[in-house]
């Protein structure tokens, strides 16, 4: 669990853009995993199962959120403290803009992009996590990249 909790937490934070919700998701995933320990003995399969469970929970939460007004999420703190070197400030601003651009994607595109670009999962692993095919993953990733690139260009 110690080995897996950090990657899952990072995944949930990026996909949900909300640390409290990310904690809830990770807690839920691990409690469920514990209940299913007898069938999760195969150590190699555990990582895939955990990613799938975490991704599904994140997507469900994102879908639930759609019912809320969009401005409910515009609450990110400004990540630009004044006393940091320019390089760091720029990087933080880029990440901030990226987070904003990610919010413009559909939940599935967001999950695919984070799994591929930040977690370096293979198309097959991502397809398994989302219950879809590698071909569909490829399409969504291309779309996500194009949308993000466009949003980021506007930011610059």
């Amino acid at each position: 669990m110690r080995r897996h909790q950090a990657p899952l937490y990072r995944l949930a934070v990026r996909v949900l853009d909300d640390r409290q919700e990310a904690e809830d998701v990770v807690q839920d995933v691990f409690v469920t995993a514990w209940r299913r320990l007898p069938e999760l003995r195969d150590d190699a399969a555990v990582g895939g199962w955990l990613y799938r469970a975490a991704t599904n929970r994140c997507l469900n939460r994102l879908r639930d959120r759609r019912a809320l007004p969009a401005d409910a999420f515009e609450q990110l703190p400004d990540p630009r403290p004044g006393d940091q070197p320019q390089r760091v400030v720029e990087a933080a601003a880029g990440v901030h803009a990226l987070a904003a651009a990610l919010r413009g994607l559909t939940p599935e595109q967001r999950a695919v992009w984070v799994l591929r670009e930040l977690h370096e999962r293979s198309y097959a692993e991502i397809a398994e996590a989302l219950g879809t095919t590698p071909v569909a993953v490829r399409g969504r990733l291309a779309r996500a990249r194009a949308d993000l690139a466009e949003a980021m260009t506007a930011w610059r």
Partner: protein, 169 residues
């Protein structure tokens, strides 16, 4: 876009996503990534690397897990005949039952409970079903498989198989 009359329609937009194949060479096959996006992605990776879950999270999980009922692990008595008693570890019985459930297809076995008493076995199992499969029919198939396999392997008639579909995949 104008095509020469009579020419077969082979026009494909340059930016079309080729859905027909996924190549092994994913890294080089992903296409060009915008420079700004690439820089922000790299920065996000670095930021992620130093993002650690709060220690309270691990504690909360452990608390929740400790509050869960422990599996009893009591052996299942297949035959109580003195001098010919047969007991099987609960874990072994669960293994047989889970395999039987999954042999029904379109389904994965989750939490599972078994109880033997009065010469019969009672089973309850939570499953994840493949989305789109008719659930009543699936539950019937699961019941039939459990009754057949568990009955044959353990030699106990299966009196009840309760199926709870807790998720779809």
């Amino acid at each position: 876009m104008a095509l020469t009359p009579g020419e077969p329609d082979q026009a494909v937009p340059d930016d079309a996503v080729h859905d027909d194949a996924v190549h092994d060479d994913e890294v080089h096959d992903d296409g060009p990534v915008s420079e700004v996006l690439a820089a922000a992605t790299a920065a996000a990776r670095r930021e992620d690397a130093s993002l650690v879950p709060p220690p309270a999270l691990l504690r909360r999980v452990m608390d929740a897990v400790r509050a869960e009922p422990r599996p009893s692990g009591a052996p299942v008595v297949l035959s109580a005949v003195p001098g010919a008693r047969v007991e099987v570890a609960e874990a072994a019985v669960l293994r047989v039952v889970r395999a039987a459930v999954e042999s029904a297809g379109d389904v994965r076995a989750g939490r599972c409970r078994v109880a033997a008493g009065g010469g019969v076995l009672r089973v309850s199992v939570a499953v994840t079903a493949r989305a789109g499969v008719p659930l009543p029919e699936l539950a019937d198939r699961v019941r039939a498989r459990v009754a057949a396999v568990a009955g044959a392997t353990l030699g106990l008639p299966v009196a009840a198989v309760d199926v709870e579909v807790e998720d779809l995949t």
